[in-house]
């Protein structure tokens, strides 16, 4: 187990190192000597700023010194400085991260619950009306673009209801948890729902097929032959064994979302990482883009690591290898 973990962590570190290298190559080497500071400074920066950047980033030194400096800054947790907005990138990301985190922390349980429960039902009663309904609905949401669903939710549940005097759901926007947990949750219900509905579809299909496989296994018959009640057979015996592909998918989805649920954040006007990234790209604010790329990569790597650990926890056979 320890060796397994050590190997996975080493792999994660390697991936992160590659990311820094690629980022460095693109943003520090790509523009060519002399233009790096210009590019990082952002539009309409005065020459004094450009000179300052060149000095700060050791741009007059050889590339490996520059890279060493870049890396050591990252290792010290310093993501850089946004000269355009005169703000540390750390601050920008520290403000955006909780928003994205809030979005995921609420949406993930929802989509997992929708997806797994409907998938289990479909597998237990294949070709039943319920199965067909779930499969149909799943397909519908699966093929609905996130922004369409988001806008529809806003239109129907916020706009129409509010117009008719029922203001359950607030206007798009974000309220920090620390300010008011209730308002935080209220503001996030619609984005949670939008994200969960779109993602749940994949889990319905995944759970259904995984469960159908497992329900035909001999050990499920053994459980029935022991006299185990059907509900327990399904959840304790079958679902337990069917969980692996679902955990993998969840790890990938959550990892990717930590890079910012770009569209959901745009539609619901949530200033999370995806929102920050989009704005930074629009303004060609390179230091912020670099920061988001590094943080998003770290999110994906961390999610993968967690999936690996979960595997070992879920399946005793993994621990030996």
């Amino acid at each position: 187990m320890i060796r397994f973990l050590a190997r996975r962590i080493a792999l994660g570190v390697l991936v992160m190192w590659c990311v820094t290298l690629v980022v460095f190559l693109i943003f520090y080497v790509g523009p060519g000597a002399g233009d790096v500071a210009r590019a990082l400074a952002g539009r309409e920066a005065p020459p004094s700023t450009v000179a300052l950047i060149a000095r700060n980033l050791l741009l007059d030194r050889p590339w490996y010194v520059q890279y060493g400096h870049f890396l050591s800054q990252l290792l010290h947790g310093n993501l850089g400085y946004d000269y355009y907005n005169s703000e540390s990138v750390n601050t920008i990301i520290a403000q955006a991260f909780p928003v994205t985190f809030s979005l995921i922390i609420g949406a993930a349980p929802l989509w997992l619950a929708f997806g797994i429960l409907s998938g289990v039902y479909s597998a237990v009663r294949p070709r039943s009306l319920g199965d067909r309904t779930f499969t149909g609905v799943a397909l519908l949401f699966y093929s609905t673009p996130t922004f369409v669903l988001g806008v529809l939710l806003i239109l129907v549940l916020y706009y129409e209801l509010t117009v008719h005097g029922v203001s359950i759901f607030p206007a798009p926007g974000y309220v920090p948890f620390t300010q008011s947990p209730l308002q935080w949750a209220r503001a996030l219900i619609l984005p949670w729902l939008a994200l969960a509905l779109v993602l749940a579809a994949a889990y319905t299909r995944l759970t259904r097929s995984s469960m159908l496989d497992v329900l035909g296994e001999d050990y499920v018959r053994t459980a029935r032959a022991k006299g185990v009640p059907e509900r327990r057979v399904i959840f304790r015996h079958a679902l337990r064994a069917a969980l692996n592909p679902i955990v993998t998918q969840a790890g990938i989805d959550i990892g990717v979302l930590f890079g910012g649920a770009v569209i959901t954040e745009q539609v619901f006007d949530l200033p999370g990482l995806g929102w920050v990234a989009v704005h930074a790209i629009q303004e060609q604010d390179l230091p912020v883009i670099i920061g988001v790329v590094v943080v998003a990569s770290a999110g994906v790597v961390a999610a993968n690591l967690i999936v690996d650990i979960l595997y070992a926890v879920l399946d005793p056979r993994v621990r030996l290898h």
Binding site: D218, Y219, R240, R317
Partner: protein, 335 residues
């Protein structure tokens, strides 16, 4: 079982896996069920307990004066695991790979006996594991199935099946997936259960040697129908049905002793649209004209009660030319 039918509706047609099979097991008795692969042995014994997914089951299956097929799922579940224990064909896949062996056994106990404490269940599991001959049960109880050898898994399955002291144990080819030495050990365990605990056993196998060692009575299944049934003596020495004869002649023991292994030629009929006559007719060397058009019924033959055969040959037919093979088989099994 009384006139049990098991059918599957498939895209290719209706699979008739079991066609009107009847047999009985008395308390404490060991019944052997033999037949080729696909003859319906597994389904004939499991379908009535609701363990064959997608099967349409008809007929009567009486356990302790109650019909399993008329029962609520709940009542049937209460019988399963407590009064009827089952051991399946494939010990490698019959235990859940993600739970500890001990947990799986104590679940079997605590599902039925909720008053039993965790501690008491644990002690009972250790006792069961040592009963079936697993060394160091206190240590092995926390192992996962993949840490057990094939033979140990099968023994763990047997321990699970007898956890609550069932009246009946259904063992579906418990020895096919394991090697010869372990086979002998498992038979030993079953023999012990039979003799010491007086558990009635239904022993499914295609190995007549196993039958000779363990069973009191035998049912011979072919293409979902009973071909012949009777005591072990009747079947080995006074069998009537040509299919039984063929089974005995194909015993490997006959080959080693006499160099005359005679496999039954041909294939069993398709379970979809079975032919109208005797199902064995295409492969039978005594086939007569009427065999192809008319279905022989199971009728008493020979001189002993309970010896029945489904064949048109004269009722007092005596096997002769395959006697030697039988002797060879018996000699091998008792040795």
């Amino acid at each position: 079982m009384d006139n049990l039918w098991v059918r599957f509706h498939t895209p290719d047609g209706v699979v008739q896996a079991v066609r009107g099979v009847s047999f009985a097991v008395e308390p404490g008795e060991t019944l052997g069920i033999v037949g080729e692969s696909g003859s319906g042995k597994t389904l004939a014994t499991q379908a009535a307990f609701g363990l064959a997914a997608g099967a349409r089951v008809e007929g009567r299956a009486v356990f302790d004066r109650r019909d399993l097929l008329e029962m609520t799922v709940r009542d049937r579940r209460e019988i399963l695991g407590s009064q009827v224990g089952m051991v399946f064909q494939n010990p490698l896949s019959s235990l859940h790979p993600m739970y500890r062996v001990g947990w799986q056994l104590s679940e079997a106990i605590r599902i039925h006996d909720r008053s039993m404490s965790r501690r008491a269940a644990h002690a009972r599991v250790v006792e069961l594991l040592s009963l079936v001959g697993i060394p160091q049960p206190e240590r092995r109880i926390d192992d996962f199935p993949h840490q057990f050898s094939g033979g140990m898994r099968q023994r763990a399955m047997i321990a699970m099946a007898i956890a609550l002291g069932p009246a009946l144990l259904i063992a579906d080819e418990p020895t096919t997936a394991v090697d010869v030495t372990i086979q002998a050990q498992i038979l030993q365990v079953l023999k012990q259960l039979k003799e010491e605990l007086g558990i009635a056993i239904v022993m499914i196998t295609h190995d007549l040697g196993v039958i000779a060692q363990l069973a009191d009575r035998v049912v011979v299944l072919y293409a979902g129908k009973v071909m012949e049934q009777g005591s072990v003596r009747d079947l080995f020495y006074e069998h009537h049905h040509p299919y039984t004869e063929g089974l005995l002649r194909s015993l490997p023991a006959a080959e080693t002793e006499r160099g005359q292994l005679v496999p039954i030629e041909g294939q069993p009929p398709s379970p979809i649209d079975p032919p109208p006559g005797c199902p064995f007719a295409p492969r039978c060397r005594y086939r007569m004209d009427r065999c192809v058009v008319e279905q022989p019924r199971l009728e008493p033959v020979g001189g002993h009660r309970g010896h029945d055969s489904a064949c048109f040959l004269p009722k007092d037919r005596r096997p002769s030319d395959d006697r030697i093979a039988v002797e060879a088989a018996k000699g091998d099994d008792s040795g």
